[in-house]
């Protein structure tokens, strides 16, 4: 990438170059698009839009304005471009890219834009000759610029300049992550740990400009880490990794009170990526159904778990759309779509209730949907009491939300490496907040019926010493709090307490972007508590 206004990077780290090469060569255009956008903003472009996978891009996948006010439009491609591909696929789109005005309210349609063909492959010589010829004739006034693999490599490496893994051990972590099996679940703890090191939140003396560069580097590394998942079209895992990235950036932004100019554009790119990737998953399920993914006899017992893991991402997307007022949320009530998700929720631990809670937050405000919302929440309460309540014989088996679906699968297949002997009888992380939600929905009769059993339960949660630590994967400092409910409770007091839960203790970034919370809580289910659910209730209230 070599326009005049962009500083050329110095190639200092051959290892990193090889690592970026490996990732870039295995990515398609959708895979490198978020990082390309991040690169633009680190070079002082103002990103106007970035579109994925739609028919409305008018030849322009990405549009940005440079520091001097000139609009730039980019068509992104993956892989090499030979003459056949150029003539059949690429040139018709380039004609629209160059000839069609940029459709954006901030950009004057009459002002000419600079057009770019970007690919992570090479452009063959005969194609380049044809482009030169067209630039001298038909496209003389608005010639096409080409950025290819080498330009992208240099540009992306520039983003990590000075923010390299510090030692061989960290390099090894990166290598392990970028060579992960892309068909499975990401290793959350390792990924969060790696991104945390890149973002340097413990360095309190870091300048804000440096933090901006840290964020750009974290976006680069996260995109490399997510590479194997994008290649296999494992959209759910891609969304999970990018959600971790955004949570870690939120943590730094809150901890150091970063002004928007240091991180907001990165947020927009990552958030756009999370949404569009979740939509790809939704499209896959809508088009092929779940069953198309199950093609091995080894799948049989895993199907319910695989369905659950995918559906939880789609339901997070639906609640995010609902909060934002995006009509696409309506697919959850579309009679043509609903059957496709039949039996897609499996109870395997408290975290498995997150999709049900998200659906209830949507249904509570849909005409005629309150009954469904209440029924979903009641089923959560009933399951918790049946599995961990006082009448359980033996141990309480509903594991807390610290245990994910991967753990649940291994537990059910007796494949855990260490003995698991925990007992959660009488304990629940979610019961309190679900009861508060039912209280808001005026379900006094049900709560009264269940209160005898509920009153024997102990409500657990982690209360971080520092409220911003809520965004961390794990925090060292905090209280593992158990709240004992009152034997005799006043409905008036319960109502008062329920409506007082407005998310005031939540980090300011989460409060500012409530549409991100459904994804956050899907990846960080142990953070679902009274304040968070109370805030989601208000954010999703119509």
């Amino acid at each position: 990438m070599n326009p005049d206004n962009i500083k050329q990077p110095e190639t200092k780290d051959p290892f990193l170059q090889r690592a970026i090469e490996h990732w870039l060569d295995s990515a398609n255009e959708l895979g490198y698009q978020p990082l390309f956008c991040e690169w633009l903003i680190t070079n002082n472009y103002i990103l106007k839009y970035s579109i994925k996978n739609t028919h409305f891009e008018q030849g322009k996948d990405v549009v940005a304005v440079s520091a001097d006010g000139t609009p730039h439009a980019f068509q992104l491609k993956g892989g090499p471009i030979n003459l056949k591909r150029w003539r059949e696929e690429v040139k018709p789109e380039i004609d629209i890219l160059i000839g069609g005005a940029i459709q954006h309210p901030d950009i004057d349609k009459s002002s000419p834009h600079i057009s770019y063909l970007v690919t992570n492959g090479e452009i063959e010589d005969n194609v380049r000759v044809e482009i030169i010829s067209l630039n001298e004739k038909a496209w003389k006034d608005t010639p096409l610029h080409c950025w290819t693999r080498g330009d992208l490599l240099n540009g992306f490496q520039q983003m990590a300049e000075g923010i390299l893994p510090k030692d061989a051990v960290t390099y090894k972590k990166l290598i392990d992550l970028i060579f992960a099996d892309g068909t499975g679940f990401p290793d959350y703890a390792k990924i969060y740990g790696f991104l945390f090191e890149i973002l340097n939140p413990r360095d309190t003396a870091r300048a804000k400009e440096q933090r901006k560069r840290d964020i750009a580097a974290a976006v680069l590394y996260a995109n490399m880490i997510v590479g194997p998942y994008r290649v296999t079209k494992n959209h759910a895992s891609t969304v999970r990794v990018m959600t971790m990235l955004l949570s870690s950036i939120f943590y730094v932004a809150d901890k150091y009170d970063l002004e928007d100019k240091y991180w907001l554009k990165s947020y927009e790119i990552i958030w756009s990526d999370i949404q569009s990737t979740a939509i790809l998953l939704e499209d896959e399920i809508s088009t092929d159904g779940f069953d198309a993914s199950f093609n091995s006899p080894l799948d049989t017992d895993l199907i319910p778990f695989r369905k659950h893991s995918a559906a939880s991402i789609v339901y997070a997307l639906k609640l995010a759309q609902f909060i934002k007022g995006d009509a696409a949320w309506k697919s959850v009530v579309d009679p043509a779509v609903v059957p496709k998700y039949k039996e897609s929720i499996l109870v395997w631990g408290e975290a498995s209730f997150v999709p049900l809670i998200m659906l209830s937050l949507i249904f509570k405000d849909v005409p005629g949907g309150k009954v469904t919302a209440v029924s979903l929440l009641k089923s959560v309460v009933t399951q918790i009491l049946q599995t961990n309540g006082r009448h359980v014989k033996g141990k309480g088996a509903l594991v807390p939300p610290y245990y994910d679906i991967d753990f649940a699968v291994k537990l059910s297949f007796e494949m855990l490496e260490a003995e698991f002997d925990d007992d959660y009888k009488y304990h629940s992380y979610y019961l309190k907040s679900v009861i508060e939600l039912l209280t808001r929905l005026n379900q006094r009769d049900f709560i009264s019926e269940q209160w005898r059993e509920i009153s024997f339960m102990r409500f657990d949660e982690l209360v971080p010493e520092n409220p911003n630590d809520f965004l961390l994967w794990r925090t060292e400092h905090g209280e593992n709090r158990t709240t004992l409910p009152k034997k005799e409770n006043s409905w008036a007091e319960m109502e008062k307490e329920a409506v007082s839960l407005k998310g005031e203790s939540l980090p300011s970034t989460l409060r500012r972007f409530p549409e991100f919370i459904p994804f956050f809580v899907t990846v960080f289910p142990f953070r679902l508590n009274s304040e968070l659910l109370g805030y989601l209730y208000l954010a999703s209230k119509k």
Partner: protein, 201 residues
Amino acid sequence: MITDFPEVKRELQKAMNIALQDGVKQNAPMLSMVGGKTLHEGDSMGVLHEDGRHVVNPLQYAESQFSVSREEMMSMKPDELMAKVNTVAVDMAGQMERNLFQSLDESIKESGNTIPGNPELSPDSILVALQMIVVDFEDDDRSKPVMPTIVTAPGGYEKLKEQEDRASEEEKKDYKARQEAILDKKFQEHLADLESRKIVD
């Protein structure tokens, strides 16, 4: 270095850790009766009581160690190594049990739930204790009282057993009747407790 067998060592380490955990459980009978939970983060544990009291305690640590000299290492048999592991388990279990009893002792004193006069452990003192505690009934069924566990000082159980063996059939019958009468009362309390668990305006 001389080529090692790291994979095998990892497996052996894992087996040693399991043996250590089992050893702690066996040597900490009180602790092993309490349902265990893993803590994933944080550095303290707190309880917010129904009356609004908030009690927070920092996490307590138990640690121990053993050492093996180079000379010992050359000839050490697996059984000898496991014996050392067991010594650590006994030491850690002791620390954990002592901490647990200390906390229990403090809580009991605070609540005033002690038997006046601090009598010796005997069938009668057990009945006195039974009157003072809450007894749960499985399935809320009078015939299924969840009887408390007795933890005694060394030799305490033997003394109790001797007293029981010395008792005549009539004394045993009388004891049983007194115990059942207490349990009847406890069951009524249990039912009243259940009735008290409700939502009011």
